[in-house]
Symmetry: C2
Subunit: 86 residues, 2 copies
């Protein structure tokens, strides 16, 4: 079956109900640098990779699986996935 190449971005951040001291520190610095209205600042992780697959649906499903198995700690983190055809 013909496969295409995709770019996957997994965006991982602390759960909304948890404190994020690093995000808080960044937000204070942003305010001081003139971005006074910045709020709800969160600092998280980005995992980016290229992959071959038959369809975007397959890429997205595997990205969710790999996030749950390897990349994300579901006790303290949430994630979202962006897929782009190359």
């Amino acid at each position: 079956m013909a496969t295409k190449e995709f770019l996957v971005k997994v965006l991982i951040e602390p759960k909304p109900e948890l404190l994020d001291p690093q995000g808080h520190a960044v937000e204070i610095a942003m305010h001081e640098l003139g971005l006074e209205t910045a709020r709800e600042t969160r600092v998280g992780k980005l995992v980016k990779y290229k992959v071959q697959a038959a369809s975007e649906e397959e890429v997205r499903k595997k990205a969710i699986d790999i996030s749950n198995e390897l990349l994300v700690n579901p006790i303290i983190e949430i994630f979202s996935i962006e897929v782009e055809t190359l």
Copy 2:
């Protein structure tokens, strides 16, 4: 002037020409977990915030400024910005 609320994501990753040992380790684990075609895996940082502004252009310009001033180390990192109207 009326302002709207925007969601900004700053995606930061190691420069392509630099080694990324963490990305390499993640890629090996992905291969072992069945995602055999994953390549060019990079691990980086995500900074996400909400902000008030008059236009998306203004949000994007300020996000680039704050990234260069505060969030990104241009010697070893590159970044991209995603803006969404809320």
